[in-house]
Assembly symmetry: C2
Homo-oligomer: 96 residues x 2
Amino acid sequence: MAERLTKDQRREALNDLPGWSLDPEGDAIEKTFRFAGFIEAFGFMTRVALVAEKMNHHPDWSNVYRTVSVRLTTHDAGGLTELDIKLARAMDRLAG
Amino acid sequence: MAERLTKDQRREALNDLPGWSLDPEGDAIEKTFRFAGFIEAFGFMTRVALVAEKMNHHPDWSNVYRTVSVRLTTHDAGGLTELDIKLARAMDRLAG
């Protein structure tokens, strides 16, 4: 099972993830993506869904028209792990 | 533009929509759908996305693994309209 990141590891990872922020408890990272419209927003979600399923690691996320708000945490580990960082990087890449 | 439903119209519509409930302000209807896993949950979202885009009326929704929580309201009308009822019916149908 993936291990929880230390405080230093979290800080280091976030330096490379523009727009992502740590939640107040330090157990998750969050970002809101904005797109041109629903088609673009849901297209992004579809690309992420395929990658997430392949990683067997899934986002907690919500969508309101052209906005997608994401929260990443590793439920099994009770906090933030390398899996979340990998998925965050993939989402940034897929958001174009 | 779609008109807001009256209190009677809302009550009548909800009678035909099992699992949906009115939010405390009466401005939106909400339901949580549960599926076998992520593939089924996101598959549902994809089917709904196509219908919503065609209707030009989109849900506010969130997904955590096998759960999809939905909130329907007509932002332009500042409350619940026939569009929300139509989309709710479509979602129930697409959830199988």
